[in-house]
């Protein structure tokens, strides 16, 4: 199921929403959320823009929106994820 998720991410022609991805996988959004976190922890996906450690956060225009939880979260395949898909799917 995790492999299918990675494969769907790889095949997406544009940004896909988590809602759309959950529908395609046939699972609930809660389970998809757990799978995304797991895939990040295992290094197959990366949460884009999650590393703001060296950025001047206080100067960022979107800081308040981030704090209010209104910013979108984005995930992208890592090299490890791409390599796995190439091995498994020969793609």
């Amino acid at each position: 199921m995790l492999l299918r998720l990675l494969s769907l991410v790889s095949d997406a022609e544009a940004v896909a929403t988590t809602q759309e991805m959950a529908r395609r996988l046939g699972v609930g959004e809660g389970l998809l959320g757990a799978m995304l976190e797991d895939a990040v922890r295992r290094g197959y996906l990366v949460l884009v823009g999650s590393d703001c450690s060296d950025s001047p956060c206080s100067a960022c225009q979107s800081r308040a929106a981030c704090l209010a939880g209104a910013s979108p979260r984005l995930w992208s395949l890592t090299d490890k994820g791409r390599r796995l898909l190439q091995q498994e799917l020969g793609g």
Partner: protein
């Protein structure tokens, strides 16, 4: 806790420790499921905090007496899994394996059952005696979620107790289930995830290499699973425990199957999916939630872009309608202030009067009078972000931009550019591919920043009256179109790169947090005011001095002499030397400096305000050409410095500067000449 209570708690602990029949209970669960509420309820004043040796992880423990029997309860750190990828996870799993509690209570939230079931799967694989407590049933019921306890019990093969810990509901059934499992008086036949024949055979191979004893005290099967999951701690223990040749063989097997973790995790997710499908019922979607209904339009492939255009048009209209009258009032105030100052300084040296009335009040005063537009702009942007619409706008824009060859990861940094291009350039660091990052950095200065927007709203308002919102909207659309075309051009020529796919989580629509909005607007307004009092003040004084020296006549000043060199180019756009100098200063300082410069030059020593002088300097056609150039002109010096810092390349920085300069002049000249040919507004 007072001294008497401490003594009482000490007695309780001593009695409990003496009791050999005390049951040890471990509370395990992900964050925010109410585990601590349950612990506080049971342990009360007997609780104490222990620091786990070799870590900074604190674990709380306490005692509860039930039916004459002591229960020792340990509240383990909140974790999502038992992978030992964090100190919390390591402490939680070490406690279960090494302390061997009589019962492990895995607490889940009824509102997010899927998340917690992964932990249940791992606890069952660990062969721990498990009782599942599903908390927050009241919140789930409010959301229309129904959980069939009996079905879940049958699926997991372990006791399942529904509860609302905050109201003490379900606590007694939970204690009964704990006692039942510990004493073996209730059915207990756990069903951990089945790992499939291929994985099972692989696990047999790993178990074989671990030998009869495995890695004490960990269960051998579980060790094999964790080793295939790439668990570092297990690998280190295996290396330390096994003979060298067996470790080498095991290491080689693990290396060959390093992605077996995906199959293991998949098996767990399939198990969770099956369990949830059987036991959890969500409300039927005959009535869609507000978020879903709004998203049917906001994220629709065709309606979405139309909605985005409409939202932006409404936004600019509001900024103009509310901001422009306030700016007019402030601008008149600046002119009145200048008039009074001149009156009050009668008899003072003329240069001092001009410095204060024209240099400072004319320059900085004009810029400060833009504060209402800026405040409304940031308030609106903040509201759109916090309501959740900006995420949808990014989603819709991505489809458009991707169709034109742009990079998906560039989306968020480019959206930051609406506030300030510097944030946009710095935000590009999150784009992983070098070429895509460079493309994003080069495109960022084409996003209309707040400085440009302020200029646009002010000048369009003066020159176009009721048609101003349409002009503003059109110029923003032009910028975005030019940004997309530039992206296509660079992507298809020098910066071709692959476009990785993305998953985006759209936050639910919500009412904006007014405090956060006010904070964001205040922060930006403060930054603007500081800028006006420092950079723009210094710049205004410099412009005033250059416009006054050497003779005191502006037409013979150094600035006029320099500006006249640019006049031939300006004439192609219907702009005199003063407008060209203003354009140049928007690059040297901040974009808003252009208005400070115009405030000094347009007034030209007279007492009229910029709002009176500017319409006399520009025709509608030349104003349009100026706005077109200003919107696409080279970025301010701060942004350029950020570009140089991020690209670490003078060549690419110069390329970006040259490209944007050429682009702005071409579109500016084309705009004016087209208007000239059509005989419009000359």
């Amino acid at each position: 806790m007072g001294p008497s209570e401490q003594a009482q708690a000490g007695d309780t602990l001593a009695r409990a420790r003496e009791s050999t029949e005390a049951l040890s209970i471990a509370l395990l669960g992900p964050p925010y499921v109410g585990k601590t509420t349950l612990f506080d309820l049971l342990a009360g004043l007997s609780q104490r905090v222990n620091l786990r040796p070799g870590t900074t992880v604190e674990v709380r423990s306490g005692y509860y007496r039930r039916d004459g029997r002591w229960l020792e309860i340990v509240d383990l750190p909140a974790v999502y899994s038992l992978s030992a990828s964090s100190p919390d996870e390591q402490v939680a799993r070490d406690h279960i394996v090494k302390e061997r509690p009589d019962v492990v209570v895995v607490m889940l939230s009824a509102t997010n059952l899927e998340h917690g079931l992964y932990l249940v799967a791992e606890a069952l694989e660990l062969a721990a005696p498990v009782v599942v407590a599903i908390n927050m049933m009241d919140a789930a019921l409010r959301d229309g979620i129904r959980i069939e306890e009996s079905v879940l019990r049958a699926a997991l093969g372990v006791p399942v107790v529904a509860m609302v810990a905050s109201r003490r509901e379900g606590v007694q059934p939970l204690l009964e289930a704990i006692a039942g499992v510990a004493e073996g008086t209730i059915p207990y036949s756990p069903n951990p995830p089945a790992l499939g024949p291929e994985l099972a055979s692989l696990l047999d191979g790993v178990e074989g290499l671990l030998g009869e004893t495995g890695i004490p005290p960990y269960p051998r099967r579980w060790c094999a699973i964790k080793l295939l999951e790439g668990d570092r701690e297990m690998e280190q223990l295996a290396q330390a425990t096994l003979p060298e040749d067996r470790w080498e063989e095991l290491h080689s097997l693990l290396h060959q199957n390093e992605d077996a973790v995906v199959a293991i995790a998949s098996a767990r997710y399939e198990w969770i999916d099956r369990t949830v499908r059987a036991a959890l019922f969500r409300p039927l979607h005959d009535s869609l939630s507000l978020t879903e209904r709004l998203d049917q339009v906001a994220t629709h492939p065709y309606l979405g872009p139309l909605a985005l255009g409409a939202v932006l048009a409404l936004f600019f209209w509001l900024v103009y309608q509310v901001g422009e009258p306030l700016v007019g009032l402030l601008n008149d105030g600046v002119a009145e202030g200048s008039h009074r100052l001149r009156f009050a300084l009668q008899g003072a040296p003329p240069w001092l009067v001009e410095l204060l009335a024209n240099g400072i009040l004319g320059g900085v005063g004009t810029v400060v009078s833009l504060l209402p537009i800026l405040a409304i702009f940031f308030l609106g942007m903040s509201a759109l972000r916090q309501v959740g619409y900006m995420a949808r706008a990014a989603f819709v824009a991505d489809r458009f931009m991707r169709a034109m060859g742009l990079h998906g990861l560039s989306l968020v940094p480019l959206f930051l550019g609406f506030g300030c291009n510097v944030s946009s350039v710095l935000g590009a660091r999150q784009v992983d591919s070098e070429r895509a990052r460079l493309l994003t950095i080069l495109l960022a200065p084409l996003v209309p920043c707040s400085g440009r927007m302020v200029l646009l709203v002010f000048i369009a308002g003066l020159l176009y009256g009721g048609a101003a919102p349409l002009v503003i909207w059109g110029l923003v659309a032009m910028n975005l179109l030019l940004l997309a075309l530039t992206g296509v051009l660079l992507d298809r020529t020098v910066l071709r790169s692959e476009r990785p796919a993305l998953i985006m989580e759209l936050p639910p629509y919500r009412l904006p947090n007014w405090r956060a909005m006010a904070f964001e607007t205040w922060q930006n307004a403060k930054e603007f005011a500081v800028r006006a009092g420092t950079v723009i003040l210094v710049f205004s004084l410099l412009i005033w001095a250059l416009a006054d020296l050497p003779t005191g006549s502006m037409e013979e000043s150094y600035l006029a002499q320099a500006g006249r060199h640019m006049e031939p180019l300006g004439r192609l756009m219907g702009l005199d030397w003063r407008m060209m100098v203003a354009l140049l200063t928007s690059f040297l300082a901040r974009k808003e400096s252009a208005l400070a410069t115009l405030g000094i030059l347009a007034a030209g020593g007279s007492e009229s305000s910029l709002s009176v002088a500017l319409p006399q300097m520009l025709t509608p056609a030349s104003a349009l050409a100026y706005l077109v150039v200003q919107m696409t002109f080279v970025p301010c010096a701060s942004t350029l410095a950020a570009v140089l810092h991020q690209t670490r390349s003078w060549r690419w920085t110069a390329f970006g500067l040259g490209y944007q300069l050429a682009l702005s002049l071409v579109v500016g000249i084309a705009t004016y000449q087209t208007a000239h040919m059509l005989g419009w507004g000359l």
